[in-house]
């Protein structure tokens, strides 16, 4: 049980895909202009990651080593398309707001990376723990960035107005603001990781 917990917590900070491994960044910077986008993208990506890891892990003995990459791509692409269709059907507003970035989950390197380096070699339960951890790690970072950017850039939280127009900074709604917030988050996360390591000894 402890093993699964460690796999799960791994993605949240210690090996957080965005803040530590620094992969899958383009979608993270592009869609995080509003909190709703951040939540939606996080859930969509977590779903694709979870399903792909489960399938790959379940069929790992049936996927020949030499053609594993194309098979991974088929599996990931299929789930991405499913998410895309489902979002269009049930949350058309959100789907429109995220535009091309939902289909682009298919080339998100977090998914390819976890499938290749983790679930192709591990059991289903381990893969589930890993996928949930990584997905949650991705989602919380996305939500934090988008929360800050939406609050400072547009003065709203989930579309509700909280800051008056006079102190909003349009800068945060644009790409430079995204890089800026993201850079600060990396700094904070590294500091937090160091503090944790000092407390927890050699781990």
């Amino acid at each position: 049980m402890k093993k699964y917990l460690s796999y799960f917590t791994n993605g949240i900070l210690r090996e957080n895909p965005l803040l530590m491994l620094m992969i899958g960044l383009c979608s993270a910077l592009a869609v995080t202009t509003s909190l709703a986008n951040g939540i939606g993208m996080g859930i969509a990506m977590t779903f694709v990651l979870l399903m792909s890891e489960i399938i790959i892990s379940a069929f790992r003995s049936l996927i020949p080593q030499s053609i594993r990459i194309p098979v991974f791509i088929i599996v990931i692409a299929a789930f991405t398309t499913i998410v895309d269709l489902v979002m269009k059907a049930f949350t058309p507003e959100l789907s429109k707001a995220m535009g091309v970035f939902i289909p682009l989950i298919v080339v998100n390197c977090i998914i390819m990376g976890r499938v290749e380096s983790f679930s192709y070699k591990r059991t289903i339960t381990e893969s589930i723990a890993d996928a949930l951890g990584m997905g949650l790690g991705y989602t919380w970072v996305l939500c934090s960035i988008s929360f800050i950017r939406e609050l400072l850039g547009a003065g709203t939280i989930l579309g509700m107005e909280v800051l008056p127009e006079s102190i909003r900074m349009g800068f945060f709604a644009q790409s430079p603001g995204g890089f800026f917030v993201f850079g600060l988050m990396i700094a904070v996360a590294l500091a937090a990781k160091k503090a944790l390591e000092r407390k927890g000894g050699s781990r």
């Binding site: 202009t33 049936l62 996927i63 020949p64 030499s66 053609i67 194309p70 098979v71 088929i74 599996v75 692409a77 299929a78 398309t81 499913i82 269709l85 489902v86 269009k88 059907a89 049930f90 058309p92 429109k96 850039g153 349009g170 709604a173 644009q174």
Partner: protein
């Protein structure tokens, strides 16, 4: 061979299973997606015409008058059996592109314009969707000029977006008003409606015939630019009508905002027969507007010995700069000046054309500022 077959088979199986799964999900979601899209359209249509209780899709029967603006849909709004207006869904270039729902009532006034999509720069071009800008259209008569700075306010920092949106609204609303007048006997418009001018450079042959209609063009080999190094003569022609020489045409290339090639025609009397642009890499919507006949037409009939200085850069110049494209205008005037002087000189030296006046001054060109 055996492994190859086996691998292909395995790949095939995975692909087939994935296809089946996708087909299933597609079949399950397709009706919902169509319904959601329909609902989204209908909801926005109801915002435009709150009193209407029925919208008839007439998308096939209204098409954009041309240009880069496309109509994606058209709906006639009814209250009971009475036509109350029409909505056109139009997509066109703004800074990137915008999709708008433009509603017009039977009295040729605009209903609130709705943005369906806008891919312009967030915080700048996307401000066109905010009430401060888009609200200006509400209640506006579609026969108005839709000219930014006159009857519409610009968004500072987003001129191209503002202009693009105004253009889409103008074209779509005019088409809607036209349709209502034609099909449902609503008020007809005054004037000709917006013109779509596709500005583009001309083919060299067409340009020559445009400047010197019905003439023969004999290539000249030895006409070179001796005045100014930065402007290059690509080709030149002696223009004849029967046995008489009616002029010289020179294709000259030089710096404008980027670069422009133009054919300049001069008569033996040292008068410009015309100027046509055959190629330009200047910016769309700005320097590109040199292709507008109302700009290059200014040069027709000018003397080859005119100063060709551009206002307002030269306070006492004789040519007005194209609005928003001063640098392009400066460079273009230089090209015309050098080519026309050389053309007139060639005619004077070889074909008995009028010589340069004694009062001819030193060559003064427009100074193109360095890039900031």
């Amino acid at each position: 061979m055996k492994t190859m077959l086996k691998l292909s088979f395995v790949m095939g199986v995975y692909a087939a299973v994935a296809c089946l799964a996708l087909a299933g999900v597609y079949l399950l979601t397709a009706p919902r997606i169509a319904a959601a899209e329909n609902r989204a359209v209908n909801e926005t249509l109801s915002v435009i015409f709150p009193d209407a209780d029925n919208f008839k899709d007439v998308s096939g029967s209204v098409t954009s008058p041309g240009g880069q603006i496309v109509f994606d849909g058209a709906y006639v709004a009814y209250t009971g059996s009475e036509v109350v207006g029409m909505v056109i869904r139009a997509t066109g270039p703004t800074y990137k592109s915008s999709t708008l729902l433009v509603g017009v009532d039977t009295k040729r006034t605009l209903k609130p314009v709705q943005f369906m999509a806008n891919t312009d720069t967030p915080g700048l071009g996307t401000k066109t969707a905010e009430p401060a800008f888009s609200g200006q259209f509400t209640g506006k008569a579609i026969d108005d000029a839709f000219s930014l700075g006159d009857d519409l306010d610009n968004i500072s920092g987003a001129t191209i977006s503002s202009r693009g949106v105004a253009e889409i609204v103008k074209i779509a609303s005019w088409s809607a008003g036209d349709y209502l007048a034609r099909e449902h006997g609503s008020l007809a418009g005054t004037g000709d409606g917006p013109k779509i001018v596709e500005l583009a450079p001309m083919e060299a042959q067409k340009a020559l015939e445009d400047i010197f209609p019905g003439s023969e063009f004999v290539p000249i080999e030895n006409l070179a630019n001796t005045l100014e190094r930065s402007i290059v003569f690509d080709r030149s022609w002696l223009v004849r009508s029967g046995d008489t020489v009616v002029g010289v045409a020179i294709e000259a290339r030089g710096q404008t905002y980027k670069a422009t090639t133009a054919i300049v025609g001069v008569t033996p009397d040292r008068i410009l027969a015309g100027v046509r642009i055959t190629e330009t890499t200047d910016t769309k919507n700005y320097g590109w507007n040199m292709n507008d006949p109302s700009f290059y037409g200014l040069f027709t009939g000018m003397s080859a010995d005119a100063p060709f200085l551009v206002r307002p850069t030269s306070a006492d110049g004789d040519i007005d700069a194209l609005s928003g494209a001063t640098v392009s205008s400066l460079g273009f005037a230089n090209i015309v000046k050098v080519a026309s002087l050389e053309g007139a000189r060639y005619l004077a030296d070889n074909e008995g054309g009028k010589p340069a006046p004694a009062s001819a001054q030193e060559l003064v060109l427009n100074v193109i500022p360095d890039e900031q």
